[in-house]
Structure formats: structure tokens, C-alpha cells
Symmetry: C2
């Protein structure tokens, strides 16, 4: 069985460009992103969506992190709930299907392929 992929969504984030979606109310953009991802995820997807409080990437929110045992972990930022949720779900599926967490540039959904903030090596025992 492949390692479980987790898509962690920071629910305390605001978007780095608050004019993008004009969210002027109290709802955090990260929480809006989480809700959009959960709502649109296909039940067959082998990705667990997990809320998390702060990925220390506040200047570049909204943010998410993808990881799985034995794979490179990735943090993405500058995300927008309205624009990016479909591409994020496609990215997470491609990540889950990869051997090492590395999704080749051309296979990353175009809307989010420039949004990588950093990656972190797999944990070896």
C-alpha cells in the first residue's frame, strides 16, 4: 500500500494579496480554502486533507504542505481559495501517485506550479 499522502492546509492564513478575492470579513482565507478543498475532493482520492494552524509561511499565505512517508515534503504559498482549489486537488493526486513526492514541472497544474515556497527531504531512519 502506498504511503498515505496528507494535504495540510493552514487555516490561520490570510492571502498574501488581500485584494485578490476581496475577503473583508472575519473568515480566514485559509479556512475558506480548506472548506473548498474538502467540498470538491472526490471520494476516491487517496489524499487526506488536514487543517493545521500555521506553517510559518504567513507572509506568503494562503499556504499548504504536502507530505507522505518516504517522500519529499512541499510547502506551497500565495494560494487563493477561489482560483486554486481545483489545481491543488490535482497536484495532491499527482503527488500521491509519485514515487518520491517529486511531481515534474510539466505535470504540475499550471495555476500552482510557480507557488512552491520550499521543499524538504524525505526522512530516513
Amino acid at each position: 500500500m502506498p504511503a498515505k499522502t496528507r494535504l495540510h492546509v493552514c487555516i490561520t492564513c490570510r492571502t498574501s494579496d488581500s485584494t485578490v478575492n476581496g475577503n473583508q470579513n472575519d473568515a480566514r482565507d485559509g479556512k475558506i480554502l480548506l472548506d473548498a478543498l474538502v467540498k470538491n475532493q472526490k471520494s476516491s482520492a487517496d489524499v487526506e486533507i488536514v487543517p493545521v494552524e500555521c506553517l510559518s509561511n504567513c507572509k506568503s499565505g494562503c499556504s499548504l504542505a504536502l507530505n507522505a512517508a518516504g517522500k519529499w515534503g512541499y510547502v506551497y504559498g500565495h494560494l487563493n481559495p477561489d482560483v486554486h482549489h481545483e489545481d491543488i486537488l490535482k497536484l495532491a493526486t499527482a503527488y500521491a501517485q509519485s514515487d518520491d513526492g517529486i511531481v515534474p514541472w510539466r505535470e504540475r497544474p499550471e495555476g500552482v506550479r510557480r507557488n512552491v515556497i520550499a521543499r524538504i527531504p524525505p526522512i530516513r531512519s
Copy 2:
């Protein structure tokens, strides 16, 4: 036995501010940082220093990543080999001694405490 801590140093990085140390030669700043860390590490330190090619944080180099099984992983950036190597080694030791990878703000060496780029949750099975 505590989980092995690894300090991954990007050896393909250049500093985000190339005027900081005036490195105009071909040596990558990340490789200079790696060498400084290895040279100054105490033999008793329970941290393995590992070279890595690219942490996808090129705009904010030099970069490093800290991780260990069961702990939050951290990426640090905007590092300078001359200025930061001692603080990085202290930070790595504090990380190794932590239960969850979270080194409280006041316990992070002052020179690098503002250099966090992002963090990524522990991997659960």
C-alpha cells in the same frame, strides 16, 4: 534513542543578498556554508549534516532544512555562511533536543530566529 536529526544544506544556493559576503567566485555560497558547518560542528553533536541539491527556495538562499522522524520539519533561508554558521549549529542542537521539532522563539539563536521560511508537519503513519 531519540530520532536522528538531519541538517540538510543546499549546496547549489547563492545568498539572496550577494553583496553580503562579496563572494564573486565560482564557489556556491551554499557549499561554503556546508563546509563551515562541518568544520565547526562539535564531534559530540547528535546532528548529521547532509548536503542536498536544491530546496526549491532559491530566491531566499542560502537555505537549509531540519527534520527528524516524528518532528515538525523546518526550512530556513536568507542565510550567510560567514555570519550564521555558529547560530545554525546551536539551532540544530536545540532542534535535536526538542520533543517535536518546535524550538521556542526565545530559545532560537537570535541571528537566525527570523529566518524561518516555512515548516511542515510531522509525518504520521
